[in-house]
Structures are given as structure tokens and as C-alpha cells.
Symmetry: C2
Subunit: 337 residues, 2 copies
DNA sequence: ATAAATCCCTAAATCGATTTAGCAAAATCG
DNA sequence: CGATTTTGCTAAATCGATTTAGGGATTTAT
């Protein structure tokens, strides 16, 4: 491994001159040429840890997902999110450290910050309480951008997909298609996104003057099975809703299955609307009409915000919202058609 | 930020003693107590970059995916693979740097190694030629473990899922179910896994004495559309096969759609076998019978191998193969039943 | 009792790059 | 022309932890 000293010796200049030549400070033409040649000859690459120590930064950020299990839901959007982050970092010469931790091992994340293992971090907290804990234990000037808004602890910096707007959009879409009896299969209560979705669902139903029947609102846990079970319970009711809004695509798949099992045609007899637009939405039959979460864009914008904070530049906004959009496929139809 | 010097001053000892106390070397009870107290009081955490510089290692490895686009196939297995890697690293106190690069930006990966930005790397090359380029440009003693075997350039260290065995398993499974006329929808030629799968498919068909008809073997590019198109072409043939083996699940979904569009019942009229066992396999209807790739295990074993190399310990084997398994769902049925 | 080995500790060197301070020569200015 | 500025360079300090080398004091061995 060649060092600045080696280059200096070979080029016949001081280490200072080598550093200056390599970092674009002014040196004579002659010195520049000789340093460049020597560096080339020795295949020189500055050692990152030495640079980091001197510079007081490590040129990388962390992206941490807090999730207690191998939650299959993550499959659906992890890759585009990572790609969005990666793209922004590349343009700043930064790299990404990634990890999956559980609510009980948040200390490893705090340690990363305290040890200056990363210059800042992006966090997908997933569960209630996580945002609060992180905001409390992290040094207050350490750059963090949350990628989900926890209504209990408003994060200072956040780039989130607007869950409430998404749900509002979903229900208004069904309403616009003529549906007045709407059932729902919600997610697990401890999930941060779910509380927002639930709140917005209730609110929107009120606004549109639609009946909120407790039999029509079932609790699931975001997997196929629970969607199936929830749908069965809904279909057991005296009067069936004309449309079902599921709080994620997996549960919508389960609902689809339950419906066709009792001989109902989707979307003719009953419409089913998903949420997330993960891979499964396009693969099911009928293909799911669903609400897309622009996670690639979210990754990009969260990374941009974090980089702005790290560079110490002025932030346009501390909290950014991204709007979901409806993706029409084949599982929703106009009511009564 | 407190440093060893600050602790030393507060505890009334030298920096050396602080370091020794904190790193378990023998110091007097008294010194240990005072150092620990001081460290606690100042909320001391050793700075990683200083440690790295001195130690000559950075306590992190890189995981790099070489892929030119936002390939949706990655959604299916990225998360469990990352989780497998993360799990192993955590037990060694290492962290993971992640990036998605393209075949034309492999130099960023080489630079990471040369700058000592990571102590070793895991690479998912995806395309032919990538393995070769990396092996050529990287310092020969730099620890790398490939996660896909490129038949053109046998990687020195590799933990791969045995694609040939998987295909063999797939075709033998169909054969055991009584199928003798087997069609296939293959993947893109430039994809490393595809050449292995194709080769094994041909070989296995020969072994089982089954006819290899070119109309029955269509080329796809791993997405739903191409599976649909390939299936249509196969169904246009004079004689239809009794089973179709698709080289991934997405194409199998497309094939399923094409079949039901022309009024064929899957699996009664024609069986369809997928490959990969991604999320969509469980979500389709009928749910796909497919070949599962144990990617979580792959991530674990690749990370283990890399860590063994980094620690300079003896390696049990330089190349490890992981066997896929059949997951029976509902898209394959006994022939003629 | 003297030599040898242990124990506990510290000063200084080290990892490798960048930055600061400062020096001589050349260029510019009034 | 003398004074000031600019240019091009280098020696040394710096970032913060760990490691090396070595010095007293105490204990063990002969």
C-alpha cells in the first residue's frame, strides 16, 4: 500500500505538495505532473480511515430499518427505496451503511452515532415508540431523517409518504366509483402507519357521510392469511359491503381468495382495493387496483434532506410529505354495474 | 466529544492506561474503576475512524449488487438476503455497506477496496463478464465472496444457490408427476443464472429421455409480460406440452394468465411450475408450485465465509453450494388426472 | 542478600492523510 | 528602489486511538 510519503519520495517533493497536487490546490505545473505520475505508478489511493480521522467525517450515512421479524411486507418496497437513497448518495460521493435492527437493539444504532461510524442516518421506525426512543438517546445535533411519521412523537426531520392522504384518496376513489357501503381490513395496532391510516379512514368516512359499521371493519396483521380471515368475517355479516378497502396488498390478496371461495366474483359482485402497490398487486388475478407509495422518490428525497443537513446547508423544509397515487387495475368496478 | 485524553485527565491516569482499562488488559482495580467512572461520566465512545486507522481495518464489509436497472426481480429476495448477511455480521461486530451498481460503474467498487473503505466484499454479479472484471481489477489478496457462479470465470470464493440442481429438481419433479411433454420459458441470455439453468434443463431432459422441442422452449426476460408472450407462442404450437417450467415466478404468472385467457384451467389442463419462490408465488391464483431459493441461508453462509477470510482463519471450502427445494402449491397436478 | 521476574504505569511513536505556520524567491506596487 | 504581496514549497502539528519501549516498585527465585 503506497502512502503520500511514498509518492513524495518518488516525485521528489514533500507530502504536503502531494496532498495539494491531489486535491486541486495550486502547485507548479512541474510538481503536479510528477505527483500525478508517481501516484499512477504506485497505484495510489488515499486511505479512507486516515482521511476520515483528519476530516472529522466518514463520508457515509446509515439507513436503518427497525423491524422485529423478517416481515415479508418489506420485500415489496425495500429495493426501490434503497435504490433511491443510493442514487442520491452517489452524486455526493457518500456511501450507505445498512442494517435491520429490532426495537430492543436500538442501542446499536445509537452507538453508531456516538462512535461517529456514520455522518447521519435515515430511519424507518415502523413501530410506535421507536421514534421517541431514538430522538431521546441520540445527540440532539446528530443528523437524522425519519422516513415514517409517528403521530405520537413528531420527528423533527421527516420525509414520509402521506398515509392519511393515501387513505383519503382510497376511500374517495371508491366513493367516486359509486360505492357507499365500504368495508375495511386494517393493520396491526402497534404499527405506526396503521394508526394514521385508521384515523384517516374514520375521518374520511365521516366527511363523505358513509356508515362506519364495526362488523365491516376488521383487524388484520398485514399478511395474506389475516386478509382472508377478515374477509370471511365481513362476508358473514347480514348485509355485505359493495367494496372492501384493505390496508395493504397482501391482505387484499387474502380477501380476494375468501371472496372467490364463497363464489363471489371480484370485481363484479364485490370490489377490492389494495394499498402499497407491491409486486403481488400486479401478479394477482384479478390484478389489484391499489394505492401506490412512491418509495423510490421517498428514498431520494430523504437522502437529499439528510445530505443537506450534513453539509450544513439551509433546509427548505424539515418535514416533507409525498402523495400516494391510485393505480387502477382490475379489482374495482363501479358500484352496481 | 470526549477522547481518551479527557478520560485520562479526569481519571488521573495516562491515556495508555485508559485504553488498557477499556480493552480488558490488566490494570489495577483502582485504575479500572476510575477509568470506567470517568468514561461513564463523559459518555465516552471511541471514535471509529481513529480506531480503524490504527488497526488497519474498518470493521465493515460491502455488499454490492451489479444490476443495470431497477430490476423488479430483486424485490423478491433482497430482504431475506440482507437479513442473512446482517445477522452474521452482527455477531462479529461488523457492519454492512450496501450499494447497487451497474456493469459500467464497477470502478466504484474497485475504489472501495483500494481505499480500504471495507475489509472485504460480497458481490452479486448478475451479468456475465462482471465476475471476471472484478477478479482482474481487485488486488488478489482482497477478500471477496461471489454470490453467483459465473461458469465462464469460476470465482475463487463463492456461495451460490445451485441453479443446475434446482432446474434438475424442477424437471424431475414434473417427470415424477407423470409429465413427459415439458415446455419452458427461459430467461435473458446475458444473465449468469440463466445460462446455468438452460444448460441443466437440456441435460436433464436428455437424461430423462424427454423430447426437446424448440417451439416449446421460449425466451423471456424474467418479467410477467414476457412470460405471457412466451406462453402464447407455446400454445400456438400444434401439440401443447402438458407442463410448463418457467425460469422464474414472474414469467410463470404471465404464463398462468395466458393459459386462463385461452380457456385452459391450470393445473387441470396444463401444469405450470415457477422458480424462485418470491412473494408473488403465494399470491397468484392458483398459487404457484415453485422452486425455492434459500436466500436467507445464502446470505448467512456468504457472510460467514467472508468473515472467516477476513479473520485469516482456515476456510472449510472455497466454494459452497446451496440446494433449492420444491414448494408444492396449486399450479402443478399429476399428468392426465 | 542478590538476581530475576512481575506488576503497574507512562512517554512517545504510530497509523496516513490534511492543515497550519512559516520561509525563501519571485512578482507587484507606489 | 524599497516595501509589500504572491507563489511554491516544506517541516511539523493534527485528528484519536492503540502499541511499543521502558522505568520504578514489588515480588519471587536462587
Amino acid at each position: 500500500m503506497a502512502t503520500v510519503k511514498d509518492i513524495a519520495r518518488l516525485a521528489g517533493v514533500s507530502p504536503t505538495t502531494v496532498s495539494w497536487a491531489l486535491n486541486g490546490k495550486r502547485v507548479s505545473e512541474e510538481s503536479l505532473r510528477r505527483v500525478l505520475e508517481a501516484a499512477q505508478a504506485l497505484n495510489y489511493h488515499p486511505k479512507l480511515s486516515a482521511r476520515s480521522l483528519r476530516a472529522g467525517k466518514v463520508f457515509s450515512i446509515g439507513f436503518y430499518i427497525v423491524n422485529p421479524s423478517l416481515d415479508p411486507r418489506l420485500n415489496g418496497y425495500l429495493f426501490p427505496m434503497l435504490a433511491g437513497i443510493s442514487k442520491v448518495l452517489a452524486s455526493d460521493g457518500y456511501s450507505m451503511q445498512f442494517d435491520i435492527i429490532t426495537p430492543s437493539t436500538i442501542d446499536v444504532l445509537i452507538k453508531k452515532a456516538l462512535e461517529h461510524a456514520v455522518d447521519g442516518m435515515l430511519v424507518l421506525p415502523q413501530f410506535s415508540g421507536v421514534t421517541e426512543q431514538i430522538m431521546r438517546d441520540l445527540p440532539h445535533d446528530f443528523p437524522v431523517v425519519f422516513m415514517q411519521s409517528d403521530p405520537a412523537t413528531k420527528p423533527r426531520h421527516c420525509v414520509a409518504i402521506d398515509q392519511m392522504k393515501g387513505v383519503n384518496l382510497a376511500i374517495r376513489y371508491l366513493h367516486a366509483q359509486g360505492h357507499r357501503e365500504i368495508g375495511m381490513i386494517a393493520g396491526p395496532v402497534e404499527h405506526v402507519d396503521n394508526v394514521l391510516r385508521m384515523q384517516s379512514a374514520y375521518q374520511t368516512m365521516q366527511e363523505l357521510d358513509l356508515a362506519w359499521k364495526s362488523v365491516w371493519v376488521q383487524q388484520g396483521d398485514f399478511d395474506i392469511e389475516s386478509g382472508y380471515a377478515g374477509m370471511k368475517r365481513i362476508l358473514d355479516a347480514d348485509k355485505k359491503p359493495s367494496a372492501i378497502f384493505c390496508f395493504n396488498d397482501y391482505m387484499a390478496i387474502g380477501a380476494l381468495r375468501a371472496a372467490s371461495e364463497v363464489g363471489l366474483n371480484v370485481p363484479h359482485d364485490i370490489s377490492i382495493l389494495g394499498f402499497d402497490d407491491t409486486d403481488v398487486a400486479e401478479a394477482s388475478s384479478p390484478a389489484l387496483t391499489t394505492i401506490q407509495q412512491p418509495v423510490f422518490e421517498q428514498g431520494q428525497r430523504a437522502a437529499s434532506m439528510l445530505m443537506t443537513m450534513i453539509k450544513g446547508e439551509e433546509l427548505a423544509a424539515a418535514v416533507e410529505w409525498i402523495s400516494p397515487i391510485v393505480v387502477e387495475r382490475a379489482s374495482v368496478e363501479r358500484a352496481g354495474s
